[in-house]
């Protein structure tokens, strides 16, 4: 069967510019890889983070009652607002590991970790039973505890002390952040084990309300009603924890970051599609005369347009076929990384039909859209004007500008750039964007490092010890005196606080791990511990006597109240009403509200300290410190509940940010590849279009070196503009990303930091790339004989 002549022509036209077309398609492949990888991972993650969380049957809320027995539980279950209810305990304590060191532990007590219905766990691995007290560890906590299944781990239980548990197996709890990120050991025991070990009661009731569990208003109202009903029945509800309805604690942050990545990916793809447009434009410039000839022999404009549009569609299809498998692999990899970071499993990586359709439409449709302008321009010319050799007035104007801008080689280079300003602008845009994203990614990483340094400088202590119960000031002094390698700072009383709503309900948006959404009220004798923190609003001059000082996380949690506004907080059921006097900056810190210890005592009678903070000398040992304090405080019936060291805090936060910077850097590198391909394509087209010009120039005496220099100069001029623009664009982009990521992590923007080392690497790397991209067309142009150059159409 004979191939129709128009199709043959299309094939030969494309073949003639095969190299440039391959570069443009490759650029499109890179752009599409970004789109496919990011959209597939985004879809997978968005779907699975919700399903992973909702399939656990998460609690609508948790009531902190202080004492839960079977009778109370049955009464709660009988309430019309309650669909399911279970008694539980969540104990924040410390863990003694096998090597004798201490860590942070969260102990979850339920009827049975493997069968309880609210906040279901999935058994991952089951070990053999040895008759000791059994505990399941969250699968990611095994490494933090440095223990194997069948090994021993000790949790500090109130009134009992360290109690050894045998690790019976591992469970998967997708509602929690990975243990290594939080530097916490998550342990699960059943109620009977708890009862055998301690007489302490269960204190919490986990509730799933009736009605729409995804409706926040419904959940809030029902939880408020349950608390109110219990209050009327003389049941003291200390706190109502209501996390965001059916929403994973990290869902919003993850979606924000994925959306951001999508924007970058789409931009990369659009620029690569624009590159196709430029390539087609280059082809069309060469084809104008042939299109006119085709018209003289009867071709209609639409026929010619359809012919080339089909060609562009084939290019898009080729890019699709190459990019999709690679994009899927990368997307799945990214989804796996993020899901691992957020501790949930990917159920399926198969893209939906809708998503595949979107990719096909995007792959084929976008280059067609971008090719419309050059195709319509080339095919819309009248036969006569296309066949004539007239020079348009705009070209003449450009030549005038060129003459004004320089002479010799410089003039040639300027002429090359001004010949097609849009194309030059595209090359600059591609390189600018690549530079901006690369620099921004590294700037954010540098900002993060700076924030950890600032946090370390501003936070005076190296270690914080939380006691199980408050001790008196003289007792705290005695403890400090027993620690020769430690410099004590102000000891504090740390209490869990909540805002009191207008309806009188004390409700916090805290998740079961207590790490998301909690607010600590810290009573201090002075501002000594916090005086190095930068004051963001208000003034700390008056100290703590005039009201409450918040850090930025607490400010955001309380709805950004203005300085002077009276805050209405609840601590252990007691109301505290004080004005906001200042807001301080605390990187790497949860939400804290600071109050004068004397004020707290006078208001509600709270006294003593339960948080001891120290600056440590090099000889400091966490293990010895805890052991010393334990020995001393044992007589007072108090122990160390939790130890927070600087290292733990750094580890806890760094995991949150690593994936962001790695992905942004990868996107930057991808853009750099698109930019280099773009430059090679545009430079190639620019040189091809001017071959006859170069022939004329050489005929009238220009040396090959001069031609070569002018072409390379063009590349360097493009590079210079792109470098400056990239730096300028990276500043607001970095600030935006720092703000977004900082808000997610610390409740405030990361400090702006410009990574000059990356700038230097980018500048040199992109310069080498530009020279490499400009060299092939330049050498190709000067290798051609004068006669051959002159004979080009």
């Amino acid at each position: 069967m004979r191939v129709p002549a128009p199709l043959l022509k299309l094939g030969r036209d494309f073949q003639a510019i095969g190299g440039r077309l391959a570069l443009a398609v490759m650029a499109m492949v890179f752009g599409l890889i970004c789109v496919v990888a990011l959209s597939s991972s985004s879809t997978i993650l968005t779907r699975d983070i919700t399903s992973a969380y909702t399939t656990t049957n998460p609690a609508s809320g948790i009531l902190d009652i202080g004492f839960v027995d079977d009778e109370l539980l049955e009464r709660v279950r009988a309430l019309p607002e309650v669909s399911e209810a279970e008694a539980a305990n969540i104990l924040h304590t410390r863990v003694r590991l096998e090597d004798g060191s201490f860590g942070r532990g969260i102990l979850f007590v339920s009827s049975n970790p493997l069968t309880h219905e609210i906040g279901k766990l999935r058994l991952e691995e089951q070990g053999a039973s040895n008759g000791n007290a059994q505990m399941y560890l969250e699968r990611r906590a095994l490494n933090v505890a440095d223990v194997q299944i069948g090994g021993e781990v000790s949790f500090d239980l109130p009134g009992v002390g360290f109690t050894q548990f045998t690790v019976a197996g591992t469970v998967f709890d997708p509602a929690l952040a990975p243990a290594e990120q939080e530097q916490a050991v998550y342990g699960y025991i059943d109620r009977s084990t708890w009862a055998k070990l301690t007489s302490a009661p269960l204190e919490l009731i986990k509730i799933r309300v009736s009605g729409d569990l995804g409706d926040q208003e419904n959940v809030d109202q029902k939880m408020a009603k349950i608390a109110s009903t219990l209050g009327q029945e003389q049941v003291d509800v200390h706190l109502v924890q209501v996390p965001y309805a059916q929403t994973h604690p990290h869902a919003n942050q993850m979606n924000a970051v994925l959306s951001l990545f999508m924007v970058f990916g789409a931009t990369a793809f659009l620029l690569s599609a624009f590159l196709v447009s430029v390539t087609i434009e280059g082809l069309m410039v060469q084809q104008v005369r042939q299109i006119a000839i085709m018209k003289t022999i009867g071709a209609r404009q639409k026929q010619i347009q359809n012919m080339y549009f089909s060609g562009v569609a084939i290019l898009g299809l080729a890019a699709f076929l190459i990019a999709v498998p690679i994009g899927l692999v990368l997307g799945n990899g990214l989804a796996q990384s993020v899901s691992s970071l957020l501790n949930f499993d990917i159920t399926t990586t198969t893209p939906s039909v809708g998503l595949i359709t979107f990719w096909i439409v995007t792959s084929i449709g976008t280059p067609i859209v971008f090719a419309i302008r050059p195709l319509l321009r080339a095919t819309g010319l009248s036969v006569i004007s296309a066949l004539s050799d007239q020079i348009s007035s705009s070209v003449k104007q450009k030549q005038t500008i060129t003459i004004l801008l320089g002479s010799g080689t410089r003039r040639l280079a300027t002429a090359g750039l001004l010949r097609n300003p849009w194309r030059s602008a595209l090359a600059i845009s591609l390189l600018t964007l690549a530079g901006a994203i690369t620099l921004s990614a590294r700037n954010v990483a540098a900002g993060y490092t700076l924030s950890t340094n600032i946090a370390a400088e501003e936070r005076l202590q190296d270690i914080q010890l939380i006691l199980t119960d408050p001790i008196s000031a003289p007792q705290a002094a005695a403890v400090s005196a027993a620690l020769p390698n430690m410099v004590p700072l102000d000891a504090a009383l740390v209490l869990e606080a909540a805002t009191i709503r207008e309806d009188g309900l004390t409700l916090v948006r805290t998740y079961p791990d207590g790490g998301h959404g909690s607010l600590s009220l810290i009573a201090l004798p002075s501002t000594k511990n916090i005086q190095h923190h930068k004051v963001l609003q208000g003034s700390t001059i008056g100290g703590l006597s005039n009201g409450i000082i918040l850090n930025q996380s607490a400010l955001a949690m309380l709805g950004n109240p203005a300085i002077g506004k009276v805050l209405n907080l609840s601590v252990d059921g007691a109301a505290i009403r004080l004005p906001l006097t200042a807001v301080i900056r605390q990187y790497m810190s949860p939400a804290n509200a600071y109050i004068s210890a004397a004020e707290l005592k006078s208001l509600q009678g709270f006294s003593g300290v339960n948080s001891l903070v120290y600056k440590a000398s090099p000889e400091f040992s966490t293990k010895m410190t805890v052991s010393t304090i334990d020995t001393l405080t044992q007589a007072w019936g108090v122990g160390v509940a939790n130890v927070v060291s600087e290292n733990q805090m750094v580890k806890a936060v760094s995991g949150h940010i690593r994936i962001l910077t790695v992905t942004l850097t990868s996107l930057g590198l991808m853009m750099a590849a698109v930019g280099a391909l773009g430059l090679m394509t545009t430079q190639g087209i620019s040189v091809v279009e001017r071959r006859s010009e170069f022939g004329i120039l050489r005929a009238i005496g220009a040396r090959r070196g001069q031609i070569l220099t002018s072409i390379l100069s063009e590349g360097i001029v493009l590079w210079s503009f792109a470098l400056i623009a990239g730096v300028l664009v990276s500043i607001p982009v970095s600030q935006f990303l720092s703000s977004l990521i900082g808000e997610m992590t610390f409740g405030m923007a990361l400090p702006f930091s410009f990574d000059f080392a990356t700038l230097l690497i980018w500048a040199l790397g992109s310069l080498v790339g530009v020279v490499l991209a400009s060299s092939p067309p330049a050498f190709s142009a000067i290798r051609e004989s004068v006669n051959s150059s002159l004979n080009r159409q």
């Binding site: 002549a5 043959l8 085709m294 071709a299």
Partner: protein, 238 residues
């Protein structure tokens, strides 16, 4: 020398003008030109450089649009081609005219045979099954069948012009317009091309040719002389 045709014209231009307006200055390339083209006629449009010869042939071939006047085509139906859209003009050209250029204007990326097939594939006038045979037959008639697989750049000037004529005849048009078709050819080759046109006229095709070369007068049935865009004389060569 060819006989003057006495049958009804297949293309008639009536008082056509072409005025260019550039930068506020008007320039008349053609003014009130009328010409009839009858089947079998071999018309030479002559005149000095800038007299408007190419403009006239472009208007008659539907490659350009006149500022005023009408050009009536009488093929299947009577049509004023000055009223046609670009798309309609393309269809009209494909069916009714063949165009031969001084610089051949063959599509460089296609072989000679593929160049001949191109107008047939574009216009769909010749049935698909017949196109290849017809293309080869045309090349055979023009004695370049043995060159059919070569690219235009591999042929001599005369061979390229023969290929261009074959392409102009691909859809079996009634009129061939040729703009200085011998301008790039040596005398011998030019003569052979003129012989080809003469043969076409004998087959009742009309040939309208722009030329400077008055040495070929014997071939023409009529000359149409222009000077500064105005018709000087139209006379039968008898």
């Amino acid at each position: 020398m060819l006989p003057t045709s006495s049958t009804a014209p297949i293309l008639s231009a009536k008082r056509i003008s072409k005025i260019y307006n550039t930068g506020g200055t008007t320039c008349a390339a053609l003014r009130d030109i009328s010409i009839d083209i009858s089947p079998g006629e071999f018309i030479a449009i002559i005149g000095r450089s800038g007299s408007g010869k190419s403009t006239l042939i472009n208007l008659l071939a539907g490659l350009d649009v006149s500022t005023s006047g009408e050009i009536i085509s009488r093929s299947d139906s009577i049509t004023d081609i000055t009223k046609l859209s670009e798309e309609e003009l393309a269809r009209w050209r494909g069916k009714n005219v063949g165009i031969v250029f001084q610089s051949f204007q063959l599509l460089p990326s296609l072989s000679v045979l593929e160049n001949i097939l191109m107008p047939m594939d574009l216009c769909n006038i010749i049935p698909k099954a017949e196109r290849l045979t017809r293309a080869k037959s045309l090349l055979d008639d023009l004695e370049i069948l043995h060159q059919s697989d070569k690219l235009p750049s591999e042929l001599s000037g005369g061979q390229q012009q023969r290929a261009a004529i074959a392409r102009a005849l691909a859809n079996d048009p009634n009129i061939i317009f040729a703009d200085e078709p011998t301008g790039n050819l040596d005398t011998t080759t030019a003569k052979s091309v003129m012989d080809l046109f003469a043969v076409l006229c004998l087959r009742n095709k009309s040939v309208v040719m722009v030329t400077h070369d008055l040495a070929l007068t014997d071939y023409y049935s009529r000359t149409f002389e222009l000077a500064d865009g105005v018709q000087i004389v139209s006379e039968d060569v008898t």
